[in-house]
């Protein structure tokens, strides 16, 4: 029941938003759906959700972990979106609020389907659908740059995901030959009968294909464009949730690979790509002049960190799962703040922005906290997860990996703070007059400040203490990740 509702409610709401075309209705609908999403996910924590459609959709611990990440991000994002739409000055050719909310809800529906999909083909369908639903959102603003970013996003991710479909074909084919069910649990249970070669080949295509969507270098080229050109609430969901969806798809394949006893190979692939991604990201972070692109490259870096953690396994993989959750919330919050800054200053160029702290006091305060959280300074939850990954690396006896990892973290820290901190201080940088400025509030309303504050608080709280139920689910998820049932 819970799973059916989770799959159906956002779609129905999207249809309603398109049909009714009423501003207030759409906005309240969005918040309502986000609330329902959170309640339903909460229900799944209390009572295990029964699978539907012959077990093609279901909720295991790993799915629940990622679903919860999405669900917690969603409510603040929807509140922020209402504030964003209220502030927006609509141009003559722009889409209506109802269109935006409807498409956003479709995007949410597809991202909800990913952690619920246990059948490998449906997983692909859901992930490709996240690309399709989010592409129109990126060019909501109809600028040249937004159109360019949309095309690259659509094309690069579609081509990448087509390769993941080939991987899926190999995996499902291997299942068919071994006469096991092509679901995650089915394949893990019947792993003994699977042909290791096909599974291994499938994993390679999964990593290349879904890795594109996850933003792993060198397949990340589309990411900084799309994440920086999209409207800020959409950027928040892209970086905070859709990257994790692609990560989960890779982890699903890893479960099967582990079960066939080939885990070491798969993990070394992830470890290597993770370090490469971190290195790529650091190069671009150090020379960045556009603060939304900077945040986007930081997402590439964090996806790299997660891949390294999963690749190391054990305690590091535990840290990686924690990192995925917290990074999603923190980056979502940071993109919301960046939206406040962008709408006030009318530019993404770092050199033209100073004095956020004086012009936008609340956003300024949260900006500092966001820098602390995203660069993993205590009490950020990311500090804990990165520490776990580091301890995992040391425990595995990988000094070279540990040193490289630390060095890249340090460089990213320098790059991020060097750009983001000076924006806070300085003279009250005269904001560039916005196009069609009609003197409405310029950056800060409760709608726009409270949501990132809540998310940031959550990101810090998980660093202070990991509640017992979360620990339990994380333990079960770790078992699954190791190829267990």
């Amino acid at each position: 029941m819970v799973i059916t509702l989770l799959l159906v409610v956002p779609v129905v709401a999207a249809a309603a938003s398109f049909a009714v075309r009423q501003r207030l209705f759409s906005q309240s609908l969005l918040v309502g759906v986000a609330l329902a999403h959170l309640v339903l996910t909460g229900a799944a924590w209390v009572h295990p959700a029964a699978p539907v459609l012959w077990g093609w959709f279901g909720l295991d611990a790993l799915g629940l972990w990622f679903l919860s990440g999405l669900s917690v991000l969603l409510l603040p994002t929807s509140v922020y979106t209402v504030g964003y739409l209220r502030r927006r000055v609509k141009g003559p050719e722009d889409h209506s609020d109802s269109w935006f909310v409807g498409t956003l809800l479709l995007f949410v529906a597809t991202m909800t389907a990913v952690p619920l999909a246990l059948h490998f083909e449906l997983l692909w369908v859901a992930l490709e659908a996240t690309t399709l639903a989010s592409a129109p959102l990126i060019y909501f603003h109809r600028s040249r740059h937004a159109v360019e970013a949309t095309w690259k996003y659509l094309m690069v991710c579609s081509v990448g995901i087509a390769l993941a479909l080939l991987g899926t074909v190999f995996l499902v084919g291997a299942a068919a030959r071994a006469e096991v069910f092509p679901t995650v649990s089915g394949m893990v249970a019947g792993a003994g009968a699977l042909d290791q070669n096909w599974v291994r080949l499938a994993f390679v295509f999964f990593v290349v294909g879904y890795g594109t969507k996850m933003g792993l270098a060198p397949m990340h080229a589309w990411l900084p464009d799309a994440h920086s050109e999209a409207p800020s609430p959409v950027s928040a969901l892209l970086s905070g949730a859709s990257l994790n969806c692609a990560l989960l798809a890779i982890l699903r394949c890893l479960q099967v690979v582990e079960a066939t006893g080939d885990g070491a190979f798969a993990r070394s692939v992830l470890l290597g790509l993770g370090l490469v991604s971190m290195a790529f990201a650091v190069v671009f972070i150090l020379n960045q002049k556009d603060f939304k692109r900077l945040l986007a490259y930081s997402s590439v870096e964090h996806m790299g960190i997660i891949a390294v953690g999963v690749g190391l396994g054990g305690m590091a993989a535990w840290g990686a799962l924690l990192h995925a959750l917290i990074h999603g919330w923190a980056k979502g919050a940071f993109f919301m703040l960046s939206g406040n800054v962008l709408s006030t200053y009318g530019t993404k160029e770092v050199g033209k922005i100073s004095g956020i702290a004086r012009l936008l006091p609340a956003t300024g305060l949260l900006w500092i906290i966001a820098i602390v959280v995203i660069t993993a300074i205590p009490p950020s939850g990311l500090f804990v997860s990165e520490l776990l990954i580091l301890r995992g690396a040391l425990g595995e006896g990988r000094p070279a990996v540990t040193v490289t990892f630390l060095l890249l973290l340090f460089l990213a820290f320098v790059g991020l703070t060097r750009v983001l901190l000076p924006m806070l201080l300085g003279a009250k940088g005269a904001p560039v007059a916005r196009e069609h400025d009609d003197g409405r509030d310029r950056g800060e309303s409760v709608w726009l400040v409270l949501p990132p504050a809540v998310l940031m608080a959550a990101a810090v709280l998980l660093g202070v203490a990991l509640p017992e139920p979360l620990r339990g689910v994380l333990e079960s998820a770790m078992l699954l990740l190791g190829g267990g049932q």
């Binding site: 159109v147 360019e148 081509v159 068919a176 096909w198 464009d225």
Partner: protein, 210 residues
């Protein structure tokens, strides 16, 4: 069936040498039709109505609906008809043949695990996939990139045939839906690109960079 495989490979090679957008679309349509025939032939033994219905639907969409949609877009909008190659047509054809050799080598390596009949299908699959990728990279207009994507998907479809007990009807419908929606959205974005950049040259789409 060997005839169909050979035809599919020939169509691929034709794509490397062709210089007209409409020809691309026709080739993709023909590919869709051949894949449909191949798919229905494969299922001929079982004749479950649902499987047959999906195979028919898939053929209609890939061989008629999507190509018709692309062709009518080209006609209506006056998109430039001739392809601008980034890699010359002669060299392209050579690359196409080299890809065929590559596909043979890759599929040959999978001989032991795939079985003989499947290997032939895999050759076609890999070659089609590589052809699609090539069109995405080596042709200047973004409209050819969209067609390259369709060709890639066709390649994946052939790979799926290499495994006898294939996917379920529901999943196949989902994949079909995704691909169709993808093409529709791509065309919508192509319209926007045309308006913003006064042309479809992918080289224009380089304003975003670090």
């Amino acid at each position: 069936m060997t005839l169909v495989w050979a035809l599919l490979l020939l169509l691929n090679l034709f794509l490397y040498a062709s210089s007209r957008l409409m020809m691309y679309i026709r080739v993709v349509a023909l590919q869709g039709l051949l894949l449909g025939i191949l798919g229905i032939y494969q299922h001929a033994g079982e004749l479950a109505w649902s499987v047959l219905a999906v195979a028919l639907l898939s053929t209609v969409i890939k061989a008629f609906l999507l190509p018709w949609f692309l062709a009518s877009t080209v006609q209506k909008t006056g998109i430039r008809r001739e392809i601008v190659p980034l890699v010359g047509f002669g060299l392209s054809t050579v690359i196409g043949v080299a890809f065929l050799a590559l596909a043979l080598v890759i599929a040959g390596h999978l001989d032991a695990v795939a079985g003989e009949e499947a290997v032939q299908l895999l050759v076609v699959a890999f070659h089609t996939l590589l052809t699609g990728l090539f069109l995405c990279v080596a042709r200047a207009q973004i409209s050819s990139q969209a067609i390259g994507y369709l060709v890639m998907e066709n390649g994946v479809f052939v790979a799926g045939m290499a495994f006898a007990g294939r996917s379920s009807v529901v999943a196949e419908l989902g994949v079909l839906l995704d691909i169709s929606v993808a093409v529709f959205i791509m065309v919508a974005v192509i319209h926007h690109v045309r308006r913003e950049f006064a042309g479809l040259d992918a080289a224009n789409l380089t304003e975003l960079r670090d």
